[in-house]
């Protein structure tokens, strides 16, 4: 019985693939929105320059295109290092932590970002690795030595998760 009580605790456990995928999708949507607004502003500035008869040697839009990777990098690294959460992770109640349970440093956050890129380049296998990894870590987590954990307390009446856990608990004991 005591084990069941512990088992139902969600906060602090490593998060699985589906929750992280939802969080990631939200982050991509947020980044896409920010980039769209930035692109629109860049085009607007270029248009104003053209109307004013100015002819800069390079378009603002071109500069903007080169800054896009940096904007994406800044979004993830800044959020990870400062709070351990991006907007998507905050929405899904997730947090990136290191060994000490604290948010990763800027250095580790950069390594994690590089891991993001590698995971994506390898046909997203690095992300999908979360499904089969014993500690639910993706490649980027292994590289940066980070974990993504649930950072919210399950409701007392959280029926969906509770019923799943009870079913899983029974099948584990049967094994």
């Amino acid at each position: 019985m005591a084990r069941d009580k512990q088992f139902h605790v969600l906060q602090g456990r490593t998060a699985g693939f589906v929750t992280r995928l939802i969080a990631y999708t939200i982050d991509l949507a947020v980044v896409a929105g920010v980039l769209s607004v930035g692109g629109w502003l860049a085009v607007l500035v270029d248009t104003v320059f053209e109307k004013m008869g100015l002819d800069p040697s390079i378009d603002v839009s071109t500069i903007y295109v080169f800054t896009i990777p940096w904007i994406i990098a800044m979004y993830f690294v800044a959020f990870w290092a400062l709070t351990g959460r991006t907007i998507g992770k905050w929405f899904m109640g997730l947090k990136v932590v290191g060994h000490d349970g604290q948010s990763p440093s800027i250095g580790r956050s950069f390594i994690r970002l590089i891991g993001y890129a590698l995971s994506a380049l390898a046909f997203w296998i690095g992300y999908a690795w979360v499904i089969i990894d014993d500690e639910r870590q993706g490649w980027h987590d292994h590289m940066a030595k980070t974990w993504v954990v649930y950072d919210y307390e399950r409701r007392k009446g959280g029926e969906i998760y509770a019923s799943f856990l009870e079913r899983e608990s029974r099948s584990t004991e049967a094994d």
């Binding site: 906060q11 929750t19 939802i22 499904i131």
Partner: protein, 224 residues
């Protein structure tokens, strides 16, 4: 914006003294006369040549009629007294008394099959009752209209008070905010927990497909 429209409130009509006189006369005279006639009728019925054991339809009807009338007359004074007592505090006791009197006399007339005999008694009662009912209907209509006007004022005053209270009360504002956040929070929590359940389910399916053992459970965090 609330306006003071007291002038628009219709006033209740004054009671008609002539009508009241008529009603009193009907009760003391008409019903009294009906009672007297019914008493006479009862005497006639009691003295009628009717065999109590007879199964003849005519004799049976006569016996039943006699029993009904005698029973009615024996209880009538108490009924009148009880009615007067209970209707003292009512708004329109006369109308109610008339209604009871008319229904009683009509019921007796119908049961005894002597409608023709008592028609002269019931008719003035019925007319007086109809007039009284019409008056009551008019009063009721006026009261209804007045009530509607008053209720609009009362409603506006209530709403003004409630809105003012809601606007001024910090506690109410806090409650509204908490309620809003609570609803949003519950929806987000539902998404999170559904995702968490799907995490384990997806993991279980894939690990089974790949022939891997179930993921070992990490030690539970210490919960104070």
């Amino acid at each position: 914006m609330m306006t003071d429209s007291t002038d628009a409130i219709p006033q209740l009509p004054e009671a008609d003294p002539e009508l009241h006189k008529t009603l009193v006369r009907v009760i003391s005279g008409g019903v009294g006369e009906a009672i007297d006639r019914l008493k006479d009728l009862a005497s006639e019925l009691e003295s009628a040549d009717a065999d109590p054991e007879s199964t003849d339809p005519v004799a049976l009807t006569t016996n039943q009629a006699a029993m009904i009338v005698v029973g009615f007359l024996s209880e009538w004074p108490e009924q009148i007294a009880a009615l007067r007592e209970t209707t003292q505090s009512m708004t329109y006791p006369i109308g109610q008394l008339l209604g009871v009197a008319y229904r009683t006399v009509a019921a007796v007339a119908e049961a005894t099959g002597i409608a023709g005999v008592v028609a002269s008694i019931t008719e003035p009662t019925r007319v007086a009752l109809a007039e009284e009912l019409e008056r009551l209907a008019n009063v009721g209509t006026a009261e209804y209209a007045r009530g509607r006007v008053l209720s609009v004022h009362a409603f506006e005053r209530s709403i003004d008070g409630i809105v003012g209270y809601l606007g001024d009360s910090d506690e109410v504002g806090e409650l509204v905010r908490e309620q809003t956040l609570g609803i949003t929070g519950a929806a987000v929590q539902e998404i999170r927990e559904t995702g968490a359940a799907a995490d384990g389910l997806t993991e279980g399916i894939f690990r089974k497909m790949l022939g891997r053992d179930r993921r070992p459970l990490p030690p539970a965090p210490v919960v104070e």
